[in-house]
Point group: C2
Chain length 322, copies 2
Amino acid sequence: MDYVAGVDVGGTHTKIALGERDGGILRQTRIQPNVRGTFTDLAEAVASVLREMQSAAGGTLAAIGIGNPGFTDRRTGVTVGGAPNVPCLHGNSLSRYLGTRWGVPAFADNDGTCAAAGELAWGAGRESSNFLIATLGTGIGGGLVLNGRIVRGARGFAGEVGHFCVQPEGFACVCGGRGCFEQYASATAILRLYQAKRDRRGLSVDRELGAEGVLAAAETGDILALQTVEEAARAIAQVFGTVTNLLNLDACIIGGGLSLAGDLLLRVVREKVADYTLPLFTDGVRVVRAELRNDAGVLGAAALAYTGVSEGKASPLTPTGS
Amino acid sequence: MDYVAGVDVGGTHTKIALGERDGGILRQTRIQPNVRGTFTDLAEAVASVLREMQSAAGGTLAAIGIGNPGFTDRRTGVTVGGAPNVPCLHGNSLSRYLGTRWGVPAFADNDGTCAAAGELAWGAGRESSNFLIATLGTGIGGGLVLNGRIVRGARGFAGEVGHFCVQPEGFACVCGGRGCFEQYASATAILRLYQAKRDRRGLSVDRELGAEGVLAAAETGDILALQTVEEAARAIAQVFGTVTNLLNLDACIIGGGLSLAGDLLLRVVREKVADYTLPLFTDGVRVVRAELRNDAGVLGAAALAYTGVSEGKASPLTPTGS
């Protein structure tokens, strides 16, 4: 049986899946490679697990798709910037490494774009041809589909919704800008906003509490947690509504780890999105959770491999001067 | 000789041009029809001028393109909303009216989208495949090109950049939202911002002064006018930078009447756009004036006619229930 591999490289976990044409997952695993070591360490850790998974699955691995954080040069698979949490990727191409090793076509793209590709192939894209997905995790990534096709822009970097300015005089962002979406609705931001509210009242915050914990506290009626969720939801609604006006979207999708934490966030975003959307557009846009849940990225990397092969695209195996 | 007609319907002026394949204008005129009367009054005023222009030009009119304010159903040419300044368009199709009268294919789209089509065919699109044009006039319109093609979105309404939220707690907008781009950088907004600054100092404003006058005053060193231009430029830079991050654009274009008023606005926008753009994207994006100047809309309507014919698209002549 033929299948493809999808690899979703993250700052903490890297997910690897063997995926079938219909979006089924043959095998899936999650590793914690040392992303602060050398690129070869990371690449070998992925290769070794992939080899084991393939042995166990049997059959033929037809292609490999990689979802990278930051900005990936799609021709070469090389990370050219924007991946501070996986520094060893910079200047290197995991798709070239694995593609050469296996002798199969290999493709790489941004992880948010992969999530969009996954939803397009096997998730919300079955009902929508014009959508934005925002993946809410440690940071915020994203991907865009218009007219049933992934939007890539001039250099392949489109969909970078984490640095969408939502408050021109707002919080400073690591990117050098101000008021970026990521500073209001990522897991990091939600935790920071909640802590600030507790601090102002002299209340401590459990060290183990993550953003999921804040969402859970809001569900049980914790007022400060509820206010935090309202603020994050307002930022999400602003981005969703504004982009809907700009691109006449028919769906906005919440993906990433935070999309799994109960229904409250989704419910509040739905309430608020009309505040930022032209009346004629409001009825035409659905706000939904990623159907592939937190697997949108790794399945999307697999979708990327299928699409690349079916479109007869060359894989980025040719060595470059990087 | 074959040529097409482009019609750019506006709240004050309606422009009509006979355009050639290479973007040349055979003839062009501007009329001031009564847009508050009946639709037939407007349509007949346009038809009568078009007939005269055709007689004078000789040759064959091959197709008609219409740029409408607000939201146009592209299948039928019917205006379905968002054109408060030309109320008689609502529920009616000028493209169907003129197409039937002339017995030629006729196409209609939003005026900002037409401006994008014009720049794509004969203007900035010669050097750029991924751009946003914002047309700054009484209101703000816009159009988007990605991967060398016009972006239309789910219902054909994409590019509506006038209601992009730039200040979530900002000025109320006629659309029901808050802090819309149109409230900060349209001709109306620039005049209002300037007047407010003068009012606070007990200074009067010349009744005849338009937004162009404010820009001219800024060029000569009027401090309050300069501050106004700074504010408008900051809003433009925010929209350009944010959309560049989202769509990885290679150009942002200032069009519409305000683009003609000196270089100051363009210069200040260029200065500020990096504040809102990811470092990796800043070098890749040019901020320019519409090459077709204020004719982008009417030429774009002509481009629409050429594109529709060359793509073999049916024109919206079939009567519908509207």
